[in-house]
């Protein structure tokens, strides 16, 4: 099932020039001198076998900053994912964060006979189209909001905002009652079997309902469904679009009118939406369409955006916290009232840093882009959340 040689070759890591640009721009390397992406590759390739002692392979955030700068666009994050899978296969132990809660959840969700009851949060006035082959993929927001209730993240706010926007834009869709976690975090951790179990369960669910198109506002779900599923399963035949890809043309053409929100915001490009999927303009076009909204860029934005320090629910530690501190400081420096992001994981991780009790961490308010845009539709702040 797992062809390490081919995965190494596919990542193009053998083309590495050893120029070290990746090390310079890597946020983890900035805070942890022991972490050196270039040397991880070298160690693995010169040994030609896995090195279970190399602890550093767990620290990579998959933020793709190295890929952005690399002369050959070496797919270093994918290489890391392969190394992790190899390490686990050889008996390495995964250090799950939150006591393994998320891993347990993801494994439970892969059960074939699962009949979830996960739509109770859905507001009454959201219109779902019957017999529609387009679905809105919600993702793990309902579960996140329970598990991280003490962080007061409320990622469902973003989902509800997205649904209202789609309704307002008259984009037809339905929601599957039994969609599963996309599995990206398991893939990143090296748990191939776990990922494939979720992927297959999802594909069966999609097939059962004749799904042809998926809209989602979760960047991780978007990328996984669009790229990783075909790559690991061999083609899905399903079109996957991000919410902003659907809405941006509509706000630009005037078909969707966003109202007014007088406030100053700054935007955090999620790594998976930005560098990975190259979606930089659409979120900005949506914000630009909200009257009165002043958007100030952080010092590191778009292709150079600093990662939020999110982990795949494993090996989360001091370095992640330092990166979150840095990012929140950059947000604060813009003078913005609100830090807007478009990813539930960014939201959770940045909130976690803010709630940590460390006085140095900037407490700027964080909101989801879809929630913010929906708010501007003059529906009143409360009815959305």
């Amino acid at each position: 099932m797992f062809d390490m040689e081919r995965e190494i070759s596919d990542s193009k890591i053998r083309l590495c020039l050893d120029c070290g640009k990746c090390t310079v721009v890597c946020p983890v390397a900035q805070h942890d001198p022991e972490f050196n992406p270039r040397l991880i590759a070298q160690r693995r390739l010169t040994q030609n076998s896995s090195n279970p002692q190399d602890e550093t392979i767990w620290e990579c955030l998959s933020c793709y900053m190295c890929v952005e700068r690399c002369n050959y666009h070496v797919a270093f994050p994918e290489f890391i994912h392969s190394l992790r899978a190899e390490a686990l296969a050889e008996g390495a132990q995964l250090q799950c964060s939150h006591g393994g809660t998320l891993q347990a959840l993801m494994h439970l969700m892969a059960r074939e006979d699962l009949r979830q009851d996960r739509l109770s949060w859905l507001p009454q006035d959201i219109e779902l189209s019957e017999q529609c082959d387009t679905i809105f993929f919600v993702g793990c927001a309902p579960y996140f909001d329970i598990m991280f209730s003490d962080l007061e993240v409320n990622t469902l706010k973003g989902v509800k905002g997205a649904l209202r926007l789609l309704n307002r834009a008259q984009v037809p869709f339905t929601i599957l009652a039994n969609e599963r976690c996309c599995g990206r975090d398991l893939l990143l951790q090296g748990d191939r079997e776990g990922f494939l179990a979720l992927a297959r369960a999802n594909m069966e669910e999609f097939a059962r309902h004749g799904v042809k198109k998926i809209i989602t506002n979760c960047p991780e779900g978007y990328y996984t469904l669009k790229v990783d599923y075909p790559r690991m399963l061999g083609g899905t035949g399903i079109e996957v679009v991000h919410l902003t890809e659907v809405l941006a043309p509509l706000v630009q053409s005037g078909e969707l009118d966003l109202g007014e929100l007088k406030t100053r915001v700054t935007y955090h490009d999620p790594c998976t939406l930005g560098r990975c999927s190259r979606i930089f303009d659409e979120p900005r076009q949506i914000m630009a369409a909200v009257a009165g909204l002043e958007m100030v860029e952080m010092e590191q934005s778009r292709e150079k955006a600093l990662c939020c320090g999110a982990s795949p629910w494993a090996h989360c530690g001091a370095v992640n916290r330092q990166i979150q501190e840095q990012r929140l400081a950059q947000a604060e420096a813009t003078g913005a009232d609100i830090l807007v992001t478009a990813c539930p994981k960014c939201l959770i991780h940045l909130r976690c840093a803010q709630k940590s009790g460390d006085g140095r961490i900037a407490q700027v308010e964080i909101q989801d882009l879809a929630y913010l845009a929906a708010r501007s539709l003059d529906l009143g702040g409360e009815s959305v959340g």
Partner: protein, 137 residues
Amino acid sequence: MNKSAVRLVVFACNWDGLSCIEAAAQAGLVYPASVRVVRVSCLSRVHQGLMLKAFELGADGVMLLGCEPGNCQFDIDAGLIEQEYEKARRVLRLLGLGEERLVLCHIPRGDGSGFVGRVTGFIKKVERMQPAVPAGA
């Protein structure tokens, strides 16, 4: 009750919780061998992750067995345990497995028969529910 197919995990705190189990054993009270006991120092050690993990590994039901409020050996606020318990229950509900599969029991110290009564009652309830784990898993 002698036997059951229902697999239960009981997280028992080392003090009040365990005392009930030991009392039941000393009194010769019988409950199915499919009930596995995991001893912890304090129930506050059992966060939502461990509860869900038990289900992941094949439990049909999980019982948290601890002290009555105010009796905690370590003076831990019972609210903390409540919080984790509530979170895990809500996740189970969302998963469609049923929040009733997770129970939190406060039993007086050394109450062996009380424990056995609660366990057998729990097992019967779980038996009436759809299997949490598919047959043959």
